[in-house]
C-alpha cells in the first residue's frame, strides 16, 4: 500500500513501463532484421508485445462512488513470436542456405517496425506530459488555503 498523492499516476506509470518494453522489443526486431540464425539455429522471428487494460480492485469503497479507481492503466501480458514465415531468398553461397540453396530471412519489415516505433514514442511522450500535469495539479491542491 503506497501513498498516492498524484492523481492518475498509477495509470501513467504503467503506460510508461509498457511503452518502454514495446520500444525495446521494436529495437530488438530492427537490430535482428537480417539474423538468419540465432543461438538455437533458427531464423530470427519478430517479436510482438500484447497490451491489455489493467484492472484492479480498489482498497476503499465509498458509498456513491461505484467501481472507481478500478482502472489502473495498461500492462504487457505477453511477448510472443510472430510465426509468419519469412521471405525465402535464393543464395546458395550463404552459410545458412538449405539444400535447395534457399535462405529464410527474418520476417521483420523494417518500415513497419518504424511506424510502430513512432506510435510507441508518441504514446510514451504523451504519458510523460500527463505525469507532469498531474504533479502540478497535486501541488495546486496542496496550496489550498495558503
Amino acid at each position: 500500500m503506497t501513498m498516492n498523492l498524484i492523481p492518475g499516476v498509477e495509470s501513467t506509470g504503467s503506460a510508461l513501463s509498457a511503452e518502454k518494453i514495446r520500444l525495446e522489443i521494436i529495437a530488438q526486431n530492427i537490430a535482428n532484421s537480417n539474423t538468419t540464425q540465432d543461438a538455437n539455429g533458427n531464423v530470427y522471428k519478430r517479436k510482438e508485445v500484447a497490451f491489455e487494460e489493467f484492472i484492479k480492485m480498489p482498497e476503499r469503497r465509498v458509498p456513491g462512488y461505484v467501481d472507481e479507481n478500478l482502472y489502473q492503466g495498461v500492462k504487457v501480458v505477453d511477448v510472443y513470436d510472430d510465426q509468419t514465415p519469412g521471405r525465402m531468398i535464393f543464395n546458395p553461397g550463404h552459410p545458412h542456405a538449405n539444400k535447395d540453396g534457399m535462405v529464410e530471412m527474418p520476417n521483420v519489415d523494417v518500415s513497419r517496425e518504424m511506424i510502430d516505433l513512432i506510435s510507441a514514442s508518441r504514446a510514451y511522450e504523451a504519458n510523460l506530459s500527463v505525469v507532469k500535469t498531474s504533479r502540478r495539479m497535486a501541488q495546486q491542491a496542496l496550496a489550498i488555503g495558503r
Binding site: M3, L5, P7, R60, V62, N69, A138, A141, I144
Partner: protein, 131 residues
C-alpha cells in the same frame, strides 16, 4: 499560545459566576476540554441553583449552544483525521479532499478560539467595571 493560556479559562469563569451554569452537563464535554484549552470540567464546577427564573432562561441556552459548537469542531477534526489517514495509508487518492477537510477543521477551530478569547475579554472588561 502563551498569551492565550495565561488568560483565565472558562472553567474559572464558570466557578466564579454560578449564574452562568446550565442545569446539567453532558459527560462528553470532558473529551473536548483538551481541545478547547480547559473550557469546562464538570466535576470541578459546583451546580448552584440560586438562579432566578430570568437567568435560567438565557444562560443554559448559551452554554448549550457553545457545547454544540465544540462538538461540531471536534467532529470536523475527526473527519479530517480520517481522511488524512486514508490518504497516507493509500486507501484513497483524493488529495484535495484531505487538504480541504483539514483546512475546514482549522478554520472551525480558529473560530472557536476567537470566540473563547472574546468571551474572556468581555469577562475581564466586566470585572474592570467600578461597582
Amino acid at each position: 499560545m502563551d498569551a492565550v493560556s495565561s488568560l483565565p479559562s472558562l472553567n474559572e469563569l464558570l466557578r466564579q459566576n454560578p449564574n452562568l451554569n446550565p442545569q446539567k452537563f453532558s459527560p462528553k464535554l470532558n473529551s473536548e476540554s483538551q481541545l478547547a484549552g480547559g473550557l469546562s470540567s464538570p466535576s470541578a464546577v459546583p451546580l448552584i441553583d440560586k438562579t432566578t427564573s430570568v437567568d435560567r432562561v438565557t444562560a443554559p441556552g448559551f452554554a448549550d449552544m457553545f457545547q454544540k459548537f465544540v462538538k461540531g469542531v471536534d467532529y470536523k477534526k475527526k473527519v479530517s483525521a480520517k481522511e488524512t489517514q486514508d490518504l497516507i495509508l493509500g486507501r484513497s487518492d483524493n488529495i484535495h479532499e484531505a487538504v480541504v477537510k483539514s483546512e475546514e477543521a482549522k478554520v472551525a477551530f480558529n473560530l472557536m478560539i476567537e470566540v473563547r478569547n472574546k468571551l474572556v475579554d468581555s469577562y475581564k472588561e466586566l470585572m474592570r467595571m467600578q461597582v
